[in-house]
Symmetry: C2
Subunit: 676 residues, 2 copies
């Protein structure tokens, strides 16, 4: 082997060549037949021949290359060289692929068959509006033609719930239409990152049309206005090219309402002076505002006081969005600002977080929220807990702070140059309208009520579903458990109305509740206290009425599943699986002429939310809360973990590649402090 290297060198080849194993070995094959046995003599003859050949080329004595260091150098160079070649080949391959993606000829398609109904839809429905029965692209290809006569699944909204549904839905069973005013899905958990340029806006969005391609679906850019449940028509509105509103109907066989929520104003005055963080344009506006304030602070016409005000950033709301935004803002100001702006600005900047509860991240485990608060206090992010915003003025914010005793309140005014309002969600106008229309079936004023099969209460069974932030599930723990207890009582030969539960019985019932409704566990931690509280007559037992009251109370707490992406995602997946099952069951049901009754319950289980944990980014560290006291927090490694989770959760390969590119960009070039 050492000999071989020498040959390579003496014949003018560099160490690089010597290390590519194929070259000298390939040569050797030319000299010798493949040996039949471990080839000691062959090798020997090679060893003898080679140096002769080389000596003919060069008369000089062979250099001594036995040095370990030199050999190591050769091998490293060889490895390096062949790897570079590999990477180079990758580049060439990519360019070849790239070249294949250009279609240099105009796509001449000739005539296209389009149904007349698609071009001139017939009018109808209660308001005699055009009805979108046939789509322009219903006949575009064989795949689409096949879907024409399938049941119509109409999905309102293009958020987490809809996309989870679309990604799990069997592509062959439904004629799918998505109606949404935005033609993209937004990866909301990363939105705070986009406000400061850690991620690009583009990397957080995926065109809806890309997503529906899988199910050969259709997209209509419009806003849902109303639903006529009896004639199964969704009324949608859109602005025509002249800016006038036009309305039309989209018919459905199955309707999924997943329109999300709006910002909760909490009745505070002056929210027009705030920024929100709900969609991609909000993120851009925030970015521009931050940079504008920085630029204004540099002008000689800006007074000291004015500069301090411009650089006072206030975040209202200590939930994940508010906390992550404050953290990202701090990163921007800490890592990138001082590189390019006068140092004075860094000293004048203040970030304030106003939280109404006594802790930030109050839905998380206490340890997590403590960690976040410590981190913020170290990073000089001013956390104001027990504070309620009273009014947002153009240049300041008024809030009342409750003292540690819980009684004394003081009203403070904080000058500010920027205010983010992220204090939870409220019901969208469309949902309010639906809710009013359904009357007594809908009693919740915050969200649309569904049963555990996610069917909208008050609408024909298996027609209309509601998922995500706009909906809430009535678990009916009480009803289920009461039935269970009643059966138990009858079995023991007792009259349930006269049932008296001792504490041990109550513990059994509670176990049962925890098993069926895992979400209820959190509310059944202190069984003794609950027992005491609801044992109104203090007789040491719960009677039937007291038990019902207790369970109802738990029920009420359970109905409000968290308004998170996670819940919407699980509900979307649940619906997709159910719709797939329903479609598979359809031929059988048809054969048996079954079209009424609780089909959903017949083919699929009820929806059950499984909390997989919460995470939050808090300024070069991250916190994770898996529930039940499982949680951890950490520095940079946790940030990488946090990113990995969202990376895998991301909607498409495209957004994943883009996010990775963005993170690399931030490392290489920092965040861009530009506004446009």
């Amino acid at each position: 082997m050492l000999r071989t290297y020498r040959v390579a060198r003496a014949s003018g080849l560099s160490g690089l060549r010597g290390g590519i194993p194929t070259a000298p070995r390939g040569t050797r094959q030319l000299f010798t037949k493949p040996p039949q046995h471990p080839a000691k003599p062959k090798t020997k003859s090679l060893e003898l021949r080679r140096p002769d050949q080389v000596r003919q080329l060069s008369g000089k004595p062979l250099p001594r290359t036995q040095s370990t260091l030199l050999n190591f150098g050769y091998r490293t160079a060889a490895w390096f060289g062949s790897s570079i070649a590999f990477v180079g080949l990758g580049f060439v391959a990519f360019f070849l692929y790239d070249a294949s993606t250009y279609s240099s000829h105009a796509t001449n398609q000739g005539d296209i068959a389009i149904s007349k109904l698609a071009l001139n839809p017939r009018r109808g429905g209660p308001k005699n509006l055009p009805i979108l029965e046939i789509f322009l692209d219903d006949d575009d290809d064989e795949e689409k033609k096949k879907h024409k006569d399938k049941p119509r699944l109409v999905i309102l909204g293009g958020g987490w719930g809809s996309v989870a549904l679309l990604k799990e839905l069997n592509p062959d069973n439904y004629h799918v239409t998505v109606i949404s005013p935005a033609n993209y899905f937004l990866f909301t958990p990363m939105l705070p990152s986009a406000t400061v340029g850690t991620l690009e806006l583009k990397s957080l969005v995926e065109p809806i049309r890309n997503i529906i391609n899988r199910v050969k679906g259709h997209y209509v850019r419009a806003t849902a206005e109303d639903v006529d449940f009896s004639s199964r028509l969704v009324e949608v509105s859109q602005k025509d090219p002249r800016g006038n509103e036009v309305r039309f109907y989209v018919p459905y066989d199955k309707l999924v309402i997943a329109v999300g929520s709006t910002t909760n104003p909490h009745g505070v005055k002056g929210l027009e002076n705030c920024h929100f963080l709900k969609d991609i344009n909000d993120a851009r506006q925030i970015r521009n505002k931050i940079i504008q304030n920085l630029e204004l602070s540099c002008l000689p016409t800006t007074s000291d006081e004015e500069r301090k005000r411009l650089l006072s950033f206030v975040v209202c709301g200590g939930g994940p969005t508010g906390v992550e935004f404050a953290a990202e803002l701090f990163d921007l100001l800490n890592e990138d600002l001082t590189l390019h702006f006068p140092r004075l600005l860094r000293n004048e900047i203040s970030v304030h977080l106003i939280q109404s509860r006594d802790h930030i991240l109050n839905t998380y485990d206490e340890a997590v929220s403590k960690y976040a608060e410590d981190r913020f206090s170290r990073d000089q992010v001013d956390v104001l807990v027990n504070s309620r915003v009273a009014e947002v003025r153009p240049e300041s914010i008024l809030f009342t702070q409750t003292g540690p005793d819980g009684k004394t309140t003081v009203t403070k005014e904080l000058p500010m140059g920027f205010c983010l309002w992220s204090t939870g969600v409220a019901q969208a106008e469309f949902c309010k309208r639906i809710s009013r229309q359904l009357g007594p079936a809908q009693t919740n004023h915050h969200a649309l009520e569904t049963d555990t099969h996610l069917r909208l209460n008050g609408t024909p069974l298996s027609d209309v579903y509601a998922i995500g932030d706009c909906a809430t599930v009535q678990n009916n723990v009480a009803d289920h458990i009461i039935t269970f207890v009643r059966n138990l009582a009858w079995k023991h030969g007792q009259d349930p109305e006269k049932l008296e539960l001792h504490f041990s019985d109550w513990r059994t019932v509670a176990q049962q509740v925890k098993k069926r409704f895992p979400q209820a566990a959190a509310h059944l931690k202190r069984l003794d206290k609950l027992f005491e509280e609801y044992d109104k007559d203090q007789n040491g037992t719960l009677d039937f009425g007291e038990l019902r009251e207790l369970l109802k109370q738990i029920d009420n707490k359970l109905t409000s599943l968290p308004a998170t992406a996670q819940r919407a995602h699980q509900q979307g997946q649940y619906l997709a699986h159910k719709f797939n099952k329903l479609a598979r069951a359809a031929p059988g049901l048809k054969a048996n002429e079954i079209s009424e009754g609780d089909l959903d319950a017949a083919v699929y289980k009820a929806f059950e939310y499984r909390h997989l944990g919460s995470l939050a980014y808090i300024g070069n560290s991250a916190v994770f809360d898996w529930g039940d006291g499982w949680n951890f927090s950490g520095g940079l490694w946790a940030v990488y973990a946090w990113r990995s989770i969202y990376f895998t959760q991301s909607v498409s390969l495209r957004t994943r590649v883009l996010m990775a590119m963005d993170w690399a960009k931030r490392a290489l070039f920092g965040r861009d402090l530009m506004s446009f």
Copy 2:
């Protein structure tokens, strides 16, 4: 060597391991001391020992791996494996680097020394406005402190000229301030690509603050309003946080005006119905408009006629911007549209290019413009030459087309859903104000006139310079040549006023002109025709007056250098080199008490524009015109060449990496059809 492989395999290592040269060889070093002579016997002993060892590990006979195929397989796997390891190492290294870029601790800077004048600037100047003499960051670090007392170089504008100047300027000589309303440099030639999402907007811009970092400069986000040349103050305006205009002065020792130009309305009515393509917001608006039109076309409430109108895209202006935009638009519609939108749309789309001259790209070589036209006609881009836009209406465009005979004109109306106006440049308001102020020294109504040293005519020498689109260079060919001819005449003992030039003399003079003013060459091609034309008295000779007239005519043609990035770039570089020389010469001049006189001419040559060629992208092909008939056009390979040129021309590593990422993104995921 074959032996070594066998060892590796028999001991359970895969072919992959066998190929990493260091592993088995390193092992060998353990058995033997480094041999003193070419180690034939040593190798032999090794060969003997090794199989024994292996046999001890496994009793089975050794497999026969002498097969060429098998060896090839091993080697390929080895190469592949080590390359993967290499790439993996790269990733690890990048992550380590990434981790090092987070500063997890708040930058606590303590007190910062800032001049009182920076916080409360004194007032003065003709309008008694605050004067920005000391900047907030003048004392931020040692480097910046050193610059405090250097001559103040103020640059108005952040375009090609300014950036070229900033990149070539010696960092130690001037206290540099850039004043521009946009805090980024925009790579204008790629703007058409950004309108359709081939490139991201971010990839075309570089923050001015990044660029001025090299020269430790300052940036003021404001708009230049006026200049007081006698007290050397630039009056700038900015909106304060309340939206009121505030004004202040920025003092200078040297002022460079590079504010660019505005769109030329050519007196056409209804331009509010057009889009422009001057800055990054224009590009975004165009992108959103295109997508909005596509979405509207899909609605059932849109009639056939309306759909055709919405999908009729009109480009006014057949220069590079117009042509490239039309080409990019065609790419978008051809490559990406049909994947996601109904096929019908592709059939209904029309792209029109309205050009007032008889060819598109009329500043390019005829062959190039012919190629572009052929390409467009194949791609069904409707090129309307000899057509002048009369009026742009909200939903249609009116234009008059001159027939092939050059006389008959017809007025046509074209329904359109989108109109881009890109018909050349006009003078910015600021320049008009300067021009009026300088009175008779400025006679050109289209641009600020400078001498060949790029000094603004009418201002104190070596104080004020103007470059880029906003300026024009008076070459004064006539003056120079007349002096030359006069000297020639005196030398020959003739009275120059009575000089008579025969055609051969004229040819000598023309040669002289071509030598001194390379740009004039294009206008001196048909010497005989020129001679004939200007020999008014038809006596076969040019007298002194006739010669002067001829040269003046050429002069006029030369003054208008093309309003291109290339020219601005060269002028910026020229100024940087001159400023560097002036700074180097300054101590000597000071010692000799020279402060008046033509310093510029004393230290540096006059500006000379060298045309390096023009390029344009025309839909999966590109054209190049190097001037003097050198040109070529081609398909995909030309596109790659076109990209390479702009890639190298790009302003920073950051924009280069971003552009490369964008091109890769387009190949992988297509263009994004989203609007926000």
